[in-house]
């Protein structure tokens, strides 16, 4: 039943939310906090670290250093990648299948209240050549609401706006965004919830005007055999941007043995 709901919802809207395994989520949470504690020199307060209130413990100028440190440490030996796959396993199976191509590392985003240095303007991931068959896994480590979360547009609205961008080669995306602001959807999630979405939907984030900091992880996944861009020289392809995950014996057999029609 839950499976049909996920499939229907995703097929229609390109996005679906769900509750995650709390034990794994806590494990990630604890790991992030213990890593932050190792960077005491970069913190402004000695109080116990809370991710929601992280803005009280750090200066904006040190934020990127902490983010880069967490990113490197979490991705060591694919620790965080494996956790993400555990958490999103059923959604990935339902939407993409088993044999996958995955972005090389899991991304970490930290949005402090009123920090304009980490705003990600409206875009679709395929604007830079990423596959239109890509699924984005999105896991907040805190509750996110409105401006502390991300925005997106529904498929029909996205297509209309993307056509406008394609039609005018010198269009300003912010003007198009403002013009369509009323159609915006916010991805509101409680702590313990996650989402998967097609990044073809126009999405991004704005200045965080809420009281809490946002910590979130994201990862791009696609089926190994779904189409990649065919733009000459574009790097968003298998081997450069995506790596195989869960390769099946048939694929490995054909990599090892060069049978061909030519």
């Amino acid at each position: 039943m839950a499976n049909n709901k996920t499939i229907d919802q995703f097929s229609n809207t390109g996005i679906t939310k769900f509750a995650v395994n709390k034990v794994i989520l806590d494990e990630i949470n604890d790991r992030v906090i213990s890593l932050i504690q190792r960077k005491k020199k970069l913190l402004t307060s000695k109080n116990k670290i809370s991710l929601e209130n992280f803005h009280n413990s750090v200066a904006v100028k040190n934020l990127n250093e902490i983010r880069m440190y967490l990113y490197a440490q979490l991705n060591k030996q694919d620790w965080i990648l494996d956790k993400m796959f555990e958490l999103f396993n059923s959604q990935i199976k339902l939407i993409l299948g088993d044999e996958l191509a995955v972005q090389k590392k899991v991304n970490l985003s930290i949005q402090l209240p009123n920090d304009n240095s980490s705003i990600l303007p409206m875009h679709s991931d395929f604007f830079s050549g990423e596959s239109i068959y890509q699924l984005n896994l999105w896991l907040p480590l805190v509750s996110v609401n409105k401006t502390s979360s991300m925005f997106y547009f529904l498929p029909k609205d996205s297509i209309k706006m993307i056509n406008e961008i394609k039609k005018n080669s010198v269009s300003d995306l912010n003007i198009i965004f403002k013009k369509n602001y009323k159609k915006i959807k916010w991805l509101n999630l409680k702590k313990g919830e996650a989402a998967v979405f097609s990044p073809n939907l126009l999405h991004g984030n704005v200045l965080n005007k809420e009281k809490n900091t946002r910590f979130s992880l994201n990862l791009r996944v696609k089926n190994l055999y779904s189409p990649y861009n065919h733009i000459y020289g574009n790097e968003k392809k298998l081997g450069s941007f995506y790596r195989p995950y869960n390769l099946k014996a048939m694929t490995i057999f054909n990599i090892n043995n060069s049978f061909s029609f030519d």
Binding site: P121, F126, F127, S128, G129, I165, K166, N168, S169, V170, S171, D172, L173, N174, N229, I231, Y232, G233, N234, E235, K236, S240
Partner: protein, 148 residues
């Protein structure tokens, strides 16, 4: 105008420019290194869309620039092909009292003179295809040989 900027925002593309393709992570390294060596703060780049002849990200970026920021990019060949579109870019840069610095050619764009220089350089590069390609050369050589 050029001296009062503290931050340079990257502008990158994963399409080819003047027959070159540089993966974005490497463009980032080049641009970041320039900023480091010249005491600018490097701001993470806007990535141009892959749509044919689209410069929306560049226009969006210029319109969004803060007072203390300019743009850094690898090459003048990342600018629009269409000269009127370059004029539009220049007009916006002037309005925002800012510039684009192109690392590879070491050229700034913030005046009509710069724009002329850039146009000249780009037309010069096009000559490679018009005059100096092998076929043309061979045809020319044949004419010369037949005459002698």
């Amino acid at each position: 105008m050029i001296n009062n900027k503290k931050k340079l925002v990257g502008y990158v593309t994963n399409s080819n420019f003047n027959e070159k393709i540089i993966p974005i992570p490497f463009q980032n390294i080049l641009l970041r290194n320039y900023c480091k060596d010249n005491n600018f703060t490097y701001v993470l780049p806007y990535n141009e869309t892959v749509f044919k002849n689209s410069y929306s990200q560049l226009i969006t970026l210029i319109n969004k620039l803060d007072k203390d920021s300019a743009i850094i990019s690898c090459s003048i060949f990342m600018l629009p092909e269409n000269e009127n579109h370059v004029k539009k870019v220049l007009k916006l840069l002037k309005y925002k009292k800012t510039y684009i610095y192109f690392l590879y050619e070491n050229i700034f764009l913030n005046s009509n003179l710069d724009s002329k220089k850039i146009n000249f350089e780009r037309k010069l590069a096009k000559l490679n295809n018009v005059f100096f390609n092998d076929d043309q050369f061979k045809r020319y050589l044949n004419i010369l040989l037949n005459k002698s």
